[in-house]
Chain length 119, copies 2
DNA sequence: TAGATAATTCGACATGTTTCGAATAATAGA
DNA sequence: TCTATTATTCGAAACATGTCGAATTATCTA
């Protein structure tokens, strides 16, 4: 069974599973958030945090934190890159956009273009 | 820790957990879909299916189907109402809209406009 | 090279999820 | 009222998840 969007069911389910744990959801939201206090905001560059920064508000062991971030990465929600001792994490904008589209109210099929324009 | 949108973390996590199971995701997508084959499309009325219709493509026992639909309902994704022998199900448009907003690319913080409401 | 910091892997354990079949409840129609 | 249909509840079994501590890997700095 195929999807109406550019993302398939197992892939979607995996993303939702990654976001179904409150700790992982907090990690994701921290990366998703724009202009957190004391941070310069850039439109072009995604928000980046290293692993330990992402665990500061979480109250879990480092091994648990690592596990959660790995799950988010395997679900395609995060990208990661080592920077010296640290490993930077940021959201994959394409995945966020795909999920944004998934939940787009699908009521534009009756008329070609309606007044409700998101984008 | 509060959210930047009008939906809190436990509530969000519950919705994502409900959608993390491929069978439940298929159920949700069937309800979300606009203009399925052989069905008249209405903008005002949400797409409705009864429980057994939702299970047709699923290959699970009726008890399992019932359980999944209950989970979707408890997560606030579905609404239900009995119609004779059947029980109709349809998506909660408000919840879909909230999730749509959650994944909205947040790059409007550079502009001074402060339209987003903090709870 | 040695020690410190950051992050991951591994094994273990408690808890949660998915699924089923059997039993039950609610409704429609004869 | 009796039977068929639709859907739910319950208990049980198999499987998956979340968490930790200990050990390990990678990098930086002295």
């Amino acid at each position: 069974m195929s999807n109406y969007l550019n993302i398939e069911i197992p892939e979607l389910a995996l993303a939702f599973k990654a976001l179904s744990n409150p700790n992982r959801l907090k990690i994701f939201m921290q990366l998703l958030a724009c202009c957190p206090p004391g941070t310069a905001c850039s439109i072009t560059e995604a928000q980046k945090f290293c692993v330990s920064e992402l665990g500061k508000d979480l109250d879990v062991a480092p091994s648990t934190l690592s596990h959660h971030i790995k799950e988010l990465k395997q679900a395609g929600l995060l990208k990661m890159q080592r920077r010296g001792q640290h490993i930077d994490c940021w959201v994959d904008p394409a995945k966020v956009e795909a999920l944004h589209l998934f939940f787009k109210p699908q009521q534009d099929c009756a008329t070609p273009e309606l007044s409700r324009s998101h984008s």
